[in-house]
Amino acid sequence: MKDVHPKNPENSDQHETIKFNTSFISPSKLVSGPSISPAKFPSVPTTAVNLENAGSINAADLLPSQSSHTSSTEVPDSSHLRVANNHSSGRFSLASENSYVPSIAGLTSEDEEDDREDNNIETSHNEEEDLQSILNGLIRHENHFNGQISHRNSLSSPRQEISFLDLNIFPNSETVQNGEEYYNKYIRISKDEDEAAFVEKLKHFFILSSAGKPVFSMHGADDIIMGYMGIITTIVSTFEENMKEEIKSITVGDRIKIVAINKNPLILVAVSQISYEMMSFTHNESVEEELHPRPNSLEDHDSDSDDLILINQLNTLYNYLLSILSKPTIEKNFHNRMNYDLRRVLTPLDFHNFEALCLKLTYGLPLLKEGEKISDTSSFDFYIGELLDSSIQSVKIRNTTRNRLNNIFLSCKRIKVKEDDLDSEVNSDSVSFFSKAEDQERYLGEDLLFSFLTTSSNRILSFMKPRNHTLSNEDLKILFSMISSAEMQSGDSEFTEDLWIPLCMPNFNPNGFLYVFVRKFDLSEYVEPRPTVSQPLSIILISSNKNTFFKMREISRYIITKIVKGENSRNNPLSRELLESTKLSILNDIRVPAIKHFIYKLKCSNQFIMNDMVYYNNDRSMNTLLQLVYFYSILHNSKATKIKSKLKATYNHETGLVRQINSSRSESKKLTYTRWNGAGTSVTGFMLSDDVYEFYCLSNEEIGSKDLIANSLKIIQWCEKYRKRLFLGEGVTF
């Protein structure tokens, strides 16, 4: 949900926007109006209030230093900054060069961390009060406009579970009886020949060759899509040939957005009718301003990268194609043959994976068979990771355990074997100089580049990488998706089958393949007494040499032996920690009952943790999932407001390490508060971020601003306290 916004920082560097039918119902450009922009949604279900707008009313008493004239077009302060996204600086890689910024300098042992608690509570007191007063202002402001909210059901009805339909997340919610019907009609992937049903779908993806031959379409039979392929080709190439520039996007009124990327010889197109995917173009921009885009100022870059959500989705699809084919393969196929039909080299599994990606990217939904229920949250995890700029999710284990696992990996690189011991045929021409020196002995893992130990849900416990190479989070996501789908193909995971997958990592190197060995095993089998819950883990070994399957298998056996050895001899075996980690209910542990779901992202390493979605509504249903996706998308994509000076001043009075760090943090502290109403209940969303973290939480209970702030800060402090357990760290480097 976007607010009326005085600025028009047209982002022209990359994305030339063409608008047809720019039929904005243009309310006053002054910001003193409500933040609800009725032009966007047929009926306004939610109230998104950002501090920024509230500021124009309450700024005087709340934020004395901030200009109260947010309505002027040239407010010099950066109160319009959105959550810093770092789009411009590229994506983070897993093993980012940045190390964690410790909260207290020199703090290393976890015991010391405990001592800090008192300190924190004390210092956060002021912060808490300040945040609270700001939030109070916001809430007062919001109540002002509550009268405008129309409900599907009457306000007076007793609290009941909200359906995603009540929230008008998607258009046409009123045309169906229930969520399932809506899903079938507007969301579910369908390859029918029914064109009327085809155009109803909220989201479309097309991949086609520059000649207009289809490669993939999310919906619709060939008969239907063929015409669209022709139209897309025509539009794209007309821009290319006649206007000498690439088309970026087309917006049709405020309902439909079409985004295209040209990856010659392929074109990828997304068509969306989903409000949270096209939030940023709903500013009230006048046409003149469109024609004369302002130079990009840095501070507006993020907030107005209009098509970024859809562009990122298209890039993810393109990366999938690269990962299975590699760039040279695609180019060679089309070389001198523009009429090439790329579908010929794609397998049914590839099309299945494309469909699954489309649903995950758009709705966070898994690809379900008819009548199938959602069984895990991996698709939701994926969505949140994408939303938070390719962030990856961590597992809570003790730092010492992580280090132990890292060291096991490191020791793999030191295993020497006699060549005869290997099952594999050894290429005589690739004998390294080690073996010459040490007579018939060589390193088993000489071709091993990256190693990962992951849980069954593809969360990394520990990893090893070469000193001069890293895998980006995008590449990791492709890796994990591929492993999941390969496992799914091989049927029930019986832990017996080793996988060997050639895979191109587009960010690492789009021109060639790495070879991925995957060994799955159940840790619980090695523990006495055997736990009732199985604890599947995967060892992923990535080799640069196609012929090293047997070596990698040898290494995986070694790793399992080493991990298992620790299981029975230590007080805190990995299996128990993992068990606790999955049971972990942070919200109960630290007594914040009103907050039902939260995400904490550590910016420097681009990793996040969140609690299980089951705590939100006591289920993992599609209804809950779609709501969470919506709430977090809005929270993340709304413009947040920088909290200025007052906090800073407070901190400046203080001395000591903690305050100094906090003080520098407050420079970029941002906050967003949003409230959604429907079916007589409401959901509160809250975002707080600074240089170190982004924090998002949801509450579907009545919660006062005081509790909201206090609880949020409590969780944030908890996350900081256990940072080393919660986040992966830098792995180990050889």
């Binding site: 190439s237 007309t238 006649n242 010929r344 030191r414 196609k546």
Partner: protein
């Protein structure tokens, strides 16, 4: 490896305005004919699945272009990556016959196909249902002149059709599909699908001291 057996062929229909390109396509795809003339704006796209040699499934992706001059700027997009091309004229309109050569040349220039001499074209003379008196006088001779011209001649199969009475339409499209399929198979023999062996391993440069000797 191949995910689908069906071959997809991009068919371009060219010819002067009003010769009946859209009617031919409508007759072929939908078995319909409309007496009303409605100029095509830009292009129309239709698909039709046919079986060739009783076992080869082919999907024809037919690009029906506008004959009018003012839409010619859309050229490259339409022609790029075509598998075959249908050149149409009107048996009652001599100018449309004479223009066939320039349509062909236009196509070859715009589409930039790799070996133009082998590219599959066919010629369709439409509207044979009309009264003989309206037809081009000594049509066969004139047609011969065009097709057998040694310099850049249009030595391609010729079909005389009626989109209105559904005469010869189907067989014309079958022939063009066959020709395109042959060309496709020829291409495949030369340059196989490149996806063979995942052999493009990356040459990883690990500095020597970091390549495993961590002692």
């Amino acid at each position: 490896m191949s995910g689908r057996k069906k071959t997809l062929l991009k068919v371009i229909i060219l010819g002067d305005s009003g010769v009946g390109k859209t009617s031919l396509m409508q007759q072929f795809v939908n078995n319909k004919f409309s007496h009303q003339y409605k100029a095509t704006i830009g292009a129309d796209f239709l698909t039709k699945e046919i079986t060739i040699d009783s076992n080869k499934q082919v999907t024809l992706q037919i690009w029906d272009t506008a004959g009018q001059e003012r839409f010619q700027s859309l050229g490259v997009a339409f022609y790029r990556g075509a598998d075959c091309c249908v050149l149409c004229y009107d048996v009652t309109n001599e100018k449309s016959l004479n223009n066939l050569t320039s349509w062909k040349d236009e196509f070859l220039v715009q589409s930039n196909v790799s070996n133009p001499q082998d590219f599959p074209f066919i010629i369709i003379g439409n509207k044979i249902d009309v009264d003989d008196s309206k037809k081009i006088p000594s049509l066969q001779k004139k047609l011969q002149n065009i097709t057998n011209n040694q310099l850049g001649g249009l030595n391609y199969p010729v079909f005389e059709t009626s989109a209105k009475d559904a005469i010869n339409v189907e067989s014309a499209f079958e022939v063009i599909a066959k020709m395109a399929l042959q060309q496709e198979e020829l291409n495949d023999a030369n340059g196989n699908d490149v996806s063979d062996d995942y052999n493009d391993a990356i040459n990883i440069h690990l500095e020597s001291e970091s390549s495993g000797c961590a002692c």
